[in-house]
């Protein structure tokens, strides 16, 4: 997604009011952004606390600012600067975390971002988790407040078109409840369920924002007294599952099942690719199919 992000930034945000800061990352991805933004592109070096503070200073003076890094270096290292300097002033700074979840796989756990959405949600930052490459340009249209953009990989079925952007989108129809998938996992679930007859599968919803008010009525109707599956490459604490459970309580929605698959961190103490960790958490295509089969037909 980072190439789509770079293209969208150049197309939509290469204006005098924008700055782009990176924490020394973006090789083979941000070169064109650097060329386009010229002196408004700053490599702040390996100093994320300062980078976020500088971004806040720029934003306080009227600029809109992107702050780019590998996800954990973007939200965890400078956490207090985000809290005090950006959020207390409600500044238009967009923190761009590349590689949400286990996306940096083999790089190891220091490079994974498993609790980023919870941490940013807790600060009141608007959290955006694009599911598809096309989502990014829509998301960049509205950067007026603290924002966290979690980039991953678009893995939807080949040669498929997506529907117009919405924070909650039904991307695959089904008659047996619904899957709410956070960001890119929606594409994976879409791929996994394609060959299952519509009457035997749940619908698949791509969830890209946590805002409860954006959940459409049709979603509630689909899950009433039926199975609800929540999948997210994020820990359970403060993730989509918890948010959705709270929203269900608010709306007095009862489901027949509430099945939640989420990031288990490192249950075996061994490390590998994003796919390896997804398999361990049941968040791969096979795991999703097993989850659906078990809940739909019973076992």
């Amino acid at each position: 997604m980072r190439n789509s992000f770079a293209k969208a930034v150049i197309t939509q945000c290469n204006q005098e009011e924008y700055f782009f800061l990176t924490g020394d990352l973006g090789f083979m991805a941000l070169e064109e952004v650097q060329n386009s933004f010229q002196n408004r592109f700053i490599n702040a070096g390996v100093a994320e606390q300062n980078m976020v503070g500088v971004a806040a200073g720029l934003a306080q003076e009227g600029f809109k600012v992107f702050v780019y890094s590998i996800a954990p270096f973007c939200y965890a290292r400078p956490f207090e600067q985000i809290r005090n300097d950006i959020c207390l002033n409600n500044l238009p700074v967009c923190l761009v975390g590349n590689g949400g979840g286990y996306a940096y796989g083999h790089m190891g756990p220091t490079h994974h971002a498993l609790e980023d959405c919870a941490a940013m949600n807790a600060l009141g930052v608007r959290v955006l988790v694009p599911a598809f490459n096309e989502d990014i340009s829509v998301m960049l249209n509205e950067l007026s407040a603290p924002t966290y953009l979690r980039l991953g990989y678009d893995v939807r079925p080949k040669e498929t078109d997506i529907f117009e952007y919405a924070a909650w989108r039904e991307i695959l129809q089904g008659k047996r409840g619904a899957i709410a998938a956070l960001g890119p996992l929606a594409g994976l679930a879409w791929q996994a369920l394609l060959d299952i007859p519509v009457n035997d599968r749940p619908s698949v919803w791509a969830v890209t924002e946590f805002d409860e008010t954006k959940i459409p009525t049709v979603f509630w109707k689909q899950i009433a007294e039926k199975p609800l599956f929540v999948i997210e490459e994020h820990v359970a604490a403060g993730g989509l599952g918890m948010h959705l459970a709270l929203a269900m309580a608010h709306h007095k929605i009862q489901t027949s099942d509430f099945i939640h698959r989420y990031a288990l961190r490192y249950p075996t103490g061994r490390f590998g690719s994003q796919e390896f960790h997804r398999v361990q958490c049941g968040l791969d295509a096979k795991g999703i199919l097993t989850m659906i089969t078990g809940a739909t037909y019973g076992s």
Partner: protein, 262 residues
């Protein structure tokens, strides 16, 4: 004559600071009295309405509030509410009710980066604007200060001035004993900033240092100060925390008044 009037104003501000902390039963007097000379000089003698100031050592909020009061930007009623219920003036500056406040400070190590961002913004907009940031000396144990210093020097932010209130005392001892943080001048100079080391209670030295324009790099002015200057517990750790008793308040009041009448 002008200097005489400013010194009178400075003493009036010190008395008001003393009263404000006494009536609110607040501590942190030491760090306020070590920097009020610099704050008053900066705001009254140097800064224009275009310039920006960031109080990175947010625990000296009182001295800054009183400085704003001396400029007519805060009223007596505001100061009377300092650190009390339903106030706009908490113990560390925050919120939207304080004139000229750009950021909420109190957690140390944030100001230099914020100031660097503002200095960069001024350069980008081609504004003739100076950015000033006041830090404590213990604050430079925060790595983020050094990150900001490296950044500011690299980007030649010569519109940025960092003042460091070097009173030599921090939360639980002296800066020298705790983490050998006493030789800031040589350390910061070695990074490439222009550093001036002056008597932080000498108005002329403060003013001269602030008027000494830098051509190439950010300026750092290290203010050699006494924590709780002029108070009964000056130069002691008690001045970092303890509020004043009635007797101590009266004694300090007499001392500052006598200074004023010299």
């Amino acid at each position: 004559m002008v200097k005489k009037r400013f010194e009178e104003l400075l003493n009036t501000a010190k008395l008001r600071l003393l009263k404000m902390h006494y009536t609110s039963n607040s501590g942190h007097l030491g760090g306020n009295f070590s920097c009020i000379d610099a704050l008053m000089t900066l705001h009254h003698r140097i800064m224009t309405s275009e310039d920006r100031f960031i109080l990175s050592k947010g625990h000296s909020a009182g001295a800054w509030y009183v400085t704003l009061w001396s400029l007519g930007k805060l009223q007596d009623l505001d100061l009377d509410s300092f650190s009390k219920e339903d106030t706009l003036l908490p113990g560390h500056p925050s919120g939207k009710g304080i004139p000229d406040l750009h950021f909420s400070t109190g957690s140390l190590g944030h100001g230099p980066s914020l100031a660097a961002g503002m200095a960069l913004a001024a350069k980008q907009k081609k504004l003739d604007r100076q950015i000033y940031c006041l830090c404590s000396d213990g604050e430079w144990q925060e790595g983020s200060c050094w990150e900001a210093l490296i950044f500011s020097i690299h980007h030649r932010l010569n519109n940025l001035t960092i003042l460091i209130d070097q009173n030599g005392l921090q939360g639980f001892g002296t800066t020298q004993d705790i983490i050998s943080c006493h030789n800031l001048t040589s350390r910061i100079t070695s990074f490439g900033a222009e550093v001036q080391y002056i008597d932080g209670h000498d108005i002329s030295q403060i003013e001269n240092a602030l008027r000494n324009i830098s051509l190439e790099s950010p300026r750092v002015i290290i203010l050699n100060t006494v924590k709780g200057k002029g108070l009964h517990f000056s130069g002691t750790l008690e001045s970092h925390y303890l509020p004043l008793s009635e007797e101590q308040y009266q004694s300090a009041h007499l001392k500052i008044t006598a200074e004023q009448e010299k």
